[in-house]
Amino acid sequence: MNTTAKEPVWIPVSTVSEFPEDGGVCAKVYGEQIAIFHFSSRNEWYACENKCPHTGDMVLARGMIGDSQGEPKVACPMHKKSFSLRTGACISGEEYTVKTYPVHIEDGTVYIGIEDPGTQG
């Protein structure tokens, strides 16, 4: 598959120690609300938009994380629709998807990769 990710701009958000283990928080990145999840049990980080695509409420960071057949996911706290944190696809089979973002950790700081922040105000 020649589907490749473009190199994003990395925005520092907070230090690793501020994040709950195996949980999520919401960060404000250039006016966007981004949910960031720390899978400490597998030492992985994921990020997606904070908005529930079904209700429009800014709640995904408050959802419970886990896995489905190994696929990292978050369950929306509103109606438990599960989203893959790798692809943003709705694992419960709905046609909703969420936008995902790359996460990068360096020197204890959590960075979110976004595209061209200049245009996002």
Binding site: D22, G23, G56, M64, P77, C90, K99
Partner: protein, 837 residues
């Protein structure tokens, strides 16, 4: 003198209409003119992709070159109409010709819908609609090696195959989560997908295009999810848009989302003007298939040629399609996606790539639709049964699998048409049908396959018991595994936690589970640990369900409601005033709840610790309105005020509520105490209810309101207060120990072997010899109670988790309220626009 009939559009439908006019003798009556935009006469657009290989328009033409002349019909090619004057009743063509009309038939069809993303106008982007489009595609394709088709519908997949046949790398990009989203369900799409992929076409689902890459020429697509597809050419086949612009500009009424509005006789709002085919909007539907257009053409031609006789009406078409889609049989008919109440039966064979689904009427007697992938031999039989509404054989599954099953008759007390999931309109019969089809043998599968339980989730316990009952009836081993991460039931996990002294989720999953857990097992284990050790649940914050995690109920807008405990519903004027003052301070909406408490709604997450602090300072504690825990004990005024009351129900209710406050259970628990048999507190609608008698108290268990209201059953009569409390201790702990996750006492009692008699034997006669242990466990829970709000109010570290942003002090700027009846309420959710091609 002949009347003048003008047909706009020489596509498949316009041509068919002309043919029918000729067939019905209409050319005697009408002077017919037909206008076409393309340089060639009508051809078969459905088989357009054949043009890629044979390059012959001749084989696609719908009629011989002299057909129009022979039939006395005037055909103008490369000369579309550019305006319609509905007042002086004439059409002007691009060549300036003016054509007066008595009757006008608009059959302008549709154009390719091109999504409006940045760069869609680059060189190398094509639509797939006409022979001319194909010419351009083939010419440009010479210089490229990788081509993507945007759109995974019928036409898109055809185009992708054509690309493959040209020897290019072929990709299909689809916005929806499945191929042919209008015709196929998830399972059918996945079978089709693997078939097509095995041919070498690469499929990308769930891809929303953000913009095109490349400078002047197209170099690929970037999607909203950040991924990129590098291809040198794009063929857009993402759906259609009706060509209604002429109508729109001339006062002919069109629908909000396009299409000329027609009635059952295909008339527009302008007298003598009709629309047929893909430009027509009939009862809110635009048909993107040729068959409905042909049907319309036939009906209109008949009506125009036979005045005075009874006219024919167009009743809408079914969307049946059968195609040999790039070597794979695909058929879909009727209500294939099961959009109305139905009973689905499905058969999947991943090995052979066959998927067959029947959509039956809920009673299983009529066929409403179906899907066939990989083997469409049964299509015509099924279509006949469907179109003629024929009663089906007793075992309709034999129509697709050939081997009749012998299962039948009644399961449980509910009739099959009993609605289980109201959100998605799924009946018990639907669930049984899905289970019997074999395609779902667990709750997750059942949810996917029927959609039941995917709305509010209130029906999940009932779905679970129907599932188990049906699997047992089939003689299958029923696994009560909590989820994919634990091969144990809740009861087993409870015993493991207790015996091995496990006090955290991490320990539990590391020693007895696998993976990372999920939203099912995490709260289940959290509840078990809380029921055994009664630690403040914030200690295990990340495994709590959202309401427990934030100690408040999440509501619309992502805001929370706060419910302070008001034991027995008794409250002093001072405390009542305090609640009002706090509500005013934080601008909260107030409502008396169904359980004699006061709900304060509309709190933002970041406000919760402050609100609790104010409440705790005034002597309130958490009402646990959020937890799968003991909540409220309702009461009437009893013998202290009521002229009928025989016992002091208020005092007893307060005692009960304070004893059991906050105790975690498999599900929420509610109680009530009534002061006499008049039952003003509705105690028998509760998990345990107490009703005063002349001699003492009657204890009832296993009742509830909610989804399936159930009256509680008498456990013991005429008890003194101490004995009553003792029995409640035992009953509650026995339930907490043994019930499955999210099962309320009513369902638990129903499933308990031996039922109420067995429960009496356990609780009253100590049949299992565990009552001392149960009482001690309850005493321990009662003795270790801590208000969960206070736990947060006293701990600045815990309060940090209530900030909306980790990196900003701002609150959520998207939370919005409007005013209603003098208080605020959240704005409504946006209506979901179904976006798919």
């Amino acid at each position: 003198m002949k009347r003048k009939l003008v047909i706009l559009g020489n596509g498949m439908v316009g041509h068919r209409f002309a043919e029918k006019i000729a067939e019905y003798g209409g050319t005697e009556k009408f002077e017919v003119t037909i206008l076409g935009e393309e340089p060639r006469r009508a051809y078969d657009r459905v088989h357009l992709s054949e043009y890629f290989t044979n390059r012959s328009a001749d084989s696609l033409y719908l009629s011989p070159s002299d057909w129009y002349r022979t039939n006395g019909i005037r055909l103008l090619l490369s000369e579309p109409a550019i305006s319609i004057d509905t007042v002086s009743r004439k059409v002007t063509t691009s060549a300036g010709t003016e054509l007066p009309f008595d009757e006008l038939v608009v059959a302008t069809g549709s154009s390719a819908f091109v999504p409006n993303f940045e760069g869609v106008d680059k060189q190398g982007v094509f639509v797939y609609r006409t022979i001319e489009d194909l010419e351009k595609i083939m010419s440009y394709a010479k210089q490229v090696s990788k081509v993507a088709v945007l759109g995974g519908g019928l036409l898109g997949l055809e185009a992708a195959k054509a690309v493959l046949d040209m020897g290019k790398e072929s990709h299909v990009v689809e916005f929806a989560s499945r191929l042919m989203p209008r015709q196929l369900d998830e399972a059918a799409s996945s079978v089709l997908k693997s078939k097509i992929e095995s041919l070498g076409v690469r499929i990308h689902l769930n891809k929303e295009t953000k913009h095109a890459l490349g400078d002047s020429s197209f170099q690929g697509l970037e999607f909203v999810d950040g991924s990129v597809l590098e291809v040198e050419m794009l063929i857009v086949s993402a759906g259609i848009r009706p060509r209604d612009e002429l109508a729109k500009n001339s006062g002919i009424e069109v629908g909000q989302r396009g299409g000329i509005i027609v009635d059952d006789e295909l008339r527009t709002n302008v007298y003598g003007v009709y629309a047929i085919g893909e430009v027509a909007l009939h009862k809110g539907m635009i048909y993107g298939l040729v068959a409905p257009g042909y049907e319309m053409a036939e009906i209109l031609a008949y009506n125009l040629c036979s005045p005075g006789q009874k006219t024919k009406s167009y009743a809408g078409s079914d969307l049946s399609t059968k195609l040999k889609l790039i070597g794979v049989d695909v058929a879909s008919f009727g209500d294939a996606l099961g959009q109305t109440e139905h009973l689905p039966i499905a058969y999947t064979n991943p090995r052979t790539g066959v998927y067959k689904k029947l959509v039956l009427s809920p009673d299983g007697k009529k066929l409403k639709g179906g899907i066939l992938v990989g083997d469409a031999d049964a299509y015509s039989t099924l279509l006949t049964l469907y179109l003629n509404n024929v009663e089906l054989p007793a075992e309709p599954e034999s129509l697709i699998v050939g081997t009749p099953s012998e299962e039948g008759s009644a399961f449980g007390s509910l009739p099959d048409d009993a609605k289980i999931c109201s959100c998605n309109n799924v009946s018990k019969g639907d669930l049984l049908g899905a289970i019997r089809s074999g395609s779902c043998s667990d709750l997750k599968g059942l949810k996917e396959c029927t959609k039941a339980g995917t709305g509010c989730g209130g029906c999940i316990p009932q779905m679970n018991s129907i599932l188990k009952e049906e699997l047992r009836a089939q003689g299958k081993v029923v696994t009560e595994h909590v989820c994919e991460h634990f091969k144990y039931s809740r009861q087993e996990l409870f015993q493991i936690a207790k015996v091995k002294g496990i006090r955290s989720f991490e320990e539990m999953i590391r020693t007895h589970g696998m993976g990372n857990g999920c939203e099912v097992c995490k709260p289940a284990v959290a509840s078990i640990i809380a029921s055994i050790y009664n630690e403040p649940i914030q200690k295990h914050r990340e495994i709590q369900d959202t309401n427990d995690k934030y100690l408040a109920n999440i509501q619309r807008g992502g805001t929370y409601s706060v419910v302070p405990r008001i034991p027995g519903g008794e409250i002093t004027p001072d405390k009542l005033i305090v609640i009002g003052q706090i509500a005013k301070k934080y601008d909260l909406y107030c409502k008396i709840t169904g359980g004699q408490r006061i709900d304060l709604l509309g709190a933002r997450m970041d406000q919760l610790p402050d609100i609790w602090k104010d409440l705790v300072e005034e002597g309130f504690e958490s009402g646990h309105a959020y937890g799968k825990a003991m909540r409220t004990v309702k009461s009437c005024v009893g013998s202290t005020w009521c002229r009928y009351g025989v016992q002091d129900s208020t005092a007893f209710a307060i005692r009960i509520e304070e004893r059991y406050r906050g105790i975690r259970a498999p599900h929420k628990l509610k109680s009530a105490v009534s002061g006499c048999i008049r039952e003003c507190a509705e105690a028998r609608g509760k998990d345990f209810g107490i009703i005063a008698t002349e001699k003492g108290w009657n204890l009832y268990v296993g009742g509830n309101g909610g989804v399936n209201p159930k009256h509680a059953i008498l456990l013991a009569a005429d008890l003194d207060e101490e004995t009553c409390v003792k029995y409640i201790d035992r009953f509650m702990m026995f339930y907490i120990r043994t019930a499955d996750k999210l099962v309320r006492t009513s369902a638990w009692l129903e499933q308990l072997e031996g039922g109420i008699e067995y429960l009496k034997d356990v609780v009253i006669n100590d049949r299992l010899g565990i009552n001392k242990a149960l009482e001690e466990e309850m005493d321990n829970l009662v003795g270790t109670y801590v208000c969960e709000w206070k736990d947060v109010v006293d701990d600045p570290e815990k309060q940090k988790r209530y900030k909306h942003f980790i990196n900003s002090e701002d609150s959520d700027p998207t939370v919005r309220f409007i005013e209603e009846r003098g208080q605020k309420r959240p704005v409504d959710w946006p209506k979901k626009e179904l976006v798919s091609n």
